[in-house]
């Protein structure tokens, strides 16, 4: 039995939330269809407090889950087995910015955007830029190995984490890596990146900072069909160019965006728009941009725009960054799918995705990171409509299968969490999953930390081949 008083003694009464009105918001994350309310929410203020809280929970055998901003899109922070949510909102300090050696040490509850903001006066920035960066935390980014439009050039979170301080599920504090190169031993820190909050609670991170690029140029080109846009991406890469971002929005997204407050002036008659960004030395950006523009013309672009200043660039990105928001306005709920395919397969996979949406009578739109083949088919729906909800999930499972059949995988950046855990069999064998389980057990032997995530469990294992998990009583009311 856990006595809450013991947690209160560690963090103070005002930092232990138990009233339903307070714990209500912790019952789901950005995916609204998995819900379970925690028994209590605890807000520690330091690594030592996290460790002390975790030790109490470990002794009492109570499950617990770390939570950053709750913007996750695979149900990762949902306490599906009840227990305690450890929220990191009080751990937001920048501990150190070493501009000389280009790294920042931060507490895990700091937002992604705040890191870049703190680095900017030194002429530096933090490269991973998930669209949720104003809200999501570094702890969440580390857990999910988050990406963003610019990770095509810069790589996802794991390329930028030099080290972490973490609390193991028994309360032991471990230091992994750090700013000095070549830490001896196994690279546990980088393994923790992407482990979806199921191996350890990351309390501090040392992040690599990069010099702000001298020049950034953004191009927006409109094409009559999405196939042509994808073909242009292929040509850009075949020409040896290395853009920092390569994003495509389809016609349904353009329409939604242009009808919303995120209207960016995208041509409404276009089948797709392609956003290409180059950054680096002026000379290198000029050369690449000129080449890309020539490729647009060869592909009979309906038109294109070029932005070299911040204001114009923000305008071109506005529609892309607001795409989820614009889609979200079309219906009460938005289902953001996330899957990856080899980018050469994008045109055929997209055609199938659109057909699946149509077959299921859904409002489906596509906005995606074309450079790395990372699809985001979005469905605007109403979860109170049971029939529509069922169609959304059925379509989601089919889309997943189409992507896997094309040599793709389940997630490019949102993670497996609860949402796709039972689809893991689509890409991994029993032996693969067993090894993953053993790895997790090395950190989290009793599965007290974030239980029921990432790997299929018992009975579900067998049923799983059918596809994605449907929300059920077991996963929350």
């Amino acid at each position: 039995m856990l006595e809450l008083a013991r947690l209160v003694a560690i963090v103070g009464a005002e930092h232990v939330l138990t009233r339903p009105g307070e714990t209500f918001v912790y019952e789901c994350d950005g995916t609204t269809h998995f819900r379970q309310r925690p028994a209590a929410v605890v807000l520690p203020a330091s690594t030592a407090e996290v460790a002390a809280v975790v030790r109490e929970l470990a002794v009492a055998g109570v499950p617990f889950v770390a939570r950053g901003a709750g913007t996750g899109l695979s149900g990762g922070a949902v306490p599906i087995h009840g227990g305690i949510v450890i929220e990191t909102a009080r751990m937001r300090r920048v501990i150190e910015i070493d501009a000389d050696n280009r790294f920042a040490r931060v507490e895990c509850g700091i937002t992604n955007a705040a890191v870049s903001k703190a680095a900017r006066p030194f002429g530096l920035f933090y490269a991973p830029d998930p669209s949720s960066q104003a809200a999501c935390t570094i702890g969440g980014n580390v857990a999910e190995n988050s990406g963003g439009p610019h990770c095509f050039k810069y790589g996802a979170t794991f390329r930028h984490v030099l080290g972490v301080t973490a609390v193991l599920p028994d309360g032991e504090i471990v230091e992994c890596g750090g700013p000095l190169a070549d830490a001896p031993g196994l690279d546990i820190g980088t393994f923790l990146v992407g482990s979806e909050g199921t191996c350890a609670i990351v309390t501090e991170a040392t992040l690599r900072l990069l010099p702000l690029p001298e020049r950034t140029e953004t191009l927006l080109a409109a094409f009559s069909t999405i196939e042509i846009a994808c073909d242009v991406v292929k040509r850009i890469l075949a020409a040896g160019l290395e853009p920092s971002a390569l994003e495509i929005l389809d016609r349904a997204t353009i329409e939604a965006v242009e009808r919303s407050v995120y209207a960016a002036g995208y041509p409404k008659d276009a089948g797709a728009v392609l956003l290409v960004e180059f950054d680096g030395l002026s000379e290198s950006v000029d050369a690449a941009s000129a080449r890309a523009q020539a490729l647009f013309q060869e592909a009979a672009a309906l038109g294109f725009e070029r932005a070299s200043d911040d204001a114009h660039r923000s305008k071109l990105w506005k529609g892309r960054k607001g795409a989820f928001g614009a889609m979200g306005r079309l219906a009460p709920d938005l289902y953001v799918q996330d899957a990856v395919v080899p980018r050469s397969r994008l045109p055929e996979v997209l055609a199938k995705v659109v057909a699946i949406g149509r077959e299921h009578g859904l409002r489906l739109s596509n906005v995606f990171h074309a450079g790395d083949g990372n699809l985001h088919p979005n469905v605007s729906y109403d979860r109170r409509d049971a029939d529509e909800m069922a169609r959304v999930l059925a379509a989601g499972a089919k889309i997943m299968q189409v992507c896997v059949d094309a040599g793709g995988s389940l997630s490019g950046e949102h993670g497996i969490g609860i949402e796709k855990r039972d689809a893991m069999h689509l890409v991994f064998s029993d032996d693969d999953l067993l090894r993953m389980r053993l790895l997790r057990e090395a950190f989290n032997p009793r599965e007290l930390l974030n239980p029921g995530k990432v790997l299929p469990t018992g009975k579900r294992c067998v049923e799983a081949k059918a596809g994605m998990l449907e929300p059920s009583a077991e996963d929350g009311p």
Binding site: C176, S284, V340
Partner: protein
């Protein structure tokens, strides 16, 4: 011991190790048996049989980097990956390539080049090193400055484990967050977790323009001034090393090394659009002038590549008599402080420490990474390591000393200088998760807490 393995692999692929075979000296254990499996399934079967009989196994790729990690407690069998070779899949449009672990890096480079692609990975021993070995050893060359370490190019792996099972981690996709990434733990695991059977890689386009520049400096002070200016510059080199001029001479670099006052040679390589590279070279000239460099030489692509190649391969040519590799001690340091480079000062102190203890050494520095390597041509003794290690004691949070590689005898003698890691229990548990039978070079990684 040999019979069950012969049954699995056939006579020609399971044989006794001859005393003159290279394995012994570097590894520190004397394998009796060599096996050459041809597939991942055969590797898994071999491991299962070995586990049942309690015999230990050392995976062996090109044999280029066996001189790392602690000395294993035992290695009864050497598992050669030479027949586990070949490119299994190459999707040029997706810029991805998969290869069996025993594929030589040189073969991957050649295949990539034919499609105007590049695997920017240039560890020492490149001609013979295998992709599996390089990932397991976690070794890189000068291109690490621009493109990172082996793991940064790896999208996924297929591994064989001592419970006889195979495991896939990651995949062939350039972006993917599906499942736990075992492949990240393999980096630098020195074969102690699993036998890597196949590796999936991300390639990059060949650079449009590639040029290098060499700058000769007279002392540590001007070196520091120059390094700080390079750090300030907007143009970022993809390869960047400093060597002492004497070593540059013995490495026979294809440059003018004649300046009588030259002490340090800085080599920088730039890959970008043509005009951007031109600008980088001109900004280096300006920096060199400001730092009172003695000599500046621009090198065209071929000469530049050859220069870096020689520098990369040269330390292994300084090996002790009878050993295939030299002893390399490594200082990792934060390279900058208050806008000034700290490396020149450290280099000088390090060289003095070595000379003072009668162990002359050569120098190989990667300034962008803060890595200073002392390469010993003779046999260094304890006082030398103690003196080097003492340098870090003043500011342990800014510096760390380790022995990177060397013959087994040295590694065993100086185990405590191999480096210490955070959680030994966690490392051991990870070893057990991946090598449940505990037969893969036991003690090599998880045992490096030997005091």
């Amino acid at each position: 011991m040999i019979e069950p393995f012969r049954k699995l692999l056939g006579k020609q692929d399971a044989f006794d190790v001859r005393p003159e075979d290279p394995a012994g000296g570097v590894l520190g254990a004397r394998p009796k048996l060599a096996l050459r499996p041809r597939s991942a399934q055969e590797v898994a079967a071999v491991l299962q049989v070995a586990a049942e009989r309690g015999v230990t196994v050392a995976p062996w790729g090109g044999g280029q980097h066996q001189d790392r990690g602690a000395v294993p407690a035992s290695a009864d069998i050497v598992l050669l990956t030479g027949q586990l070779a070949g490119i299994t899949r190459f999707d040029a449009a997706d810029q991805t390539l998969s290869a069996k672990a025993g594929t030589r890096l040189a073969d991957i480079a050649q295949a990539a080049r034919a499609e105007r692609l590049w695997l920017p990975l240039d560890p020492p021993g490149l001609e013979r090193a295998t992709i599996g070995g390089v990932l397991a050893a976690g070794v890189s060359g000068p291109l690490r400055t621009g493109f990172g370490q082996p793991i940064d190019h790896v999208l996924g792996t297929l591994t064989a484990h001592s419970d006889g099972r195979l495991a896939t981690s990651g995949g062939r996709l350039v972006k993917n967050v599906t499942g736990y990434d075992l492949h990240r733990l393999l980096h630098g695991s020195c074969g102690a977790l699993a036998v890597i059977c196949e590796v999936h890689l991300r390639l990059r386009p060949l650079p449009q323009c590639d040029a290098s520049i060499a700058v000769t400096l007279g002392d540590a002070e001007t070196l520091d001034r120059f390094l700080a200016l390079v750090r300030e510059a907007r143009e970022a080199p993809v390869a960047y090393v400093v060597v002492d001029v004497e070593s540059a001479r013995s490495a026979q670099l294809p440059l003018d090394l004649g300046h009588k006052d030259g002490a340090y040679l800085v080599l920088l390589r730039y890959c970008d659009a043509e005009k951007a590279v031109e600008r980088a070279l001109s900004s280096i000239r300006t920096a060199a002038a400001a730092a009172q460099a003695l000599l500046v030489q621009a090198l065209d692509a071929d000469v530049g590549v050859k220069t870096f190649e020689r520098i990369r391969e040269w330390p292994s040519r300084c090996a002790l008599d009878g050993a295939s590799k030299p002893v390399v001690a490594k200082l990792a340091a934060l390279p900058m402080r208050a806008g000034k480079s700290t490396l020149g000062g450290l280099v000088e102190a390090g060289l003095a420490a070595c000379a003072g203890t009668g162990a002359p050494c050569a120098l190989l520095v990667e300034p962008a990474l803060g890595l200073i390597r002392f390469v010993f041509a003779g046999e260094p003794t304890r006082p030398t390591f103690d003196a080097l290690s003492a340098l870090t004691r003043r500011e342990p949070e800014r510096m760390r000393f380790t022995i990177e590689s060397g013959p087994a005898a040295i590694r065993a003698m100086f185990a405590r200088h191999l480096g210490r890691t955070a959680s030994f229990t966690l490392q051991r548990r990870l070893k057990r998760a991946t090598d449940p039978a505990g037969i893969l070079v036991p003690g090599r990684v998880e045992g490096d807490d030997v005091a």
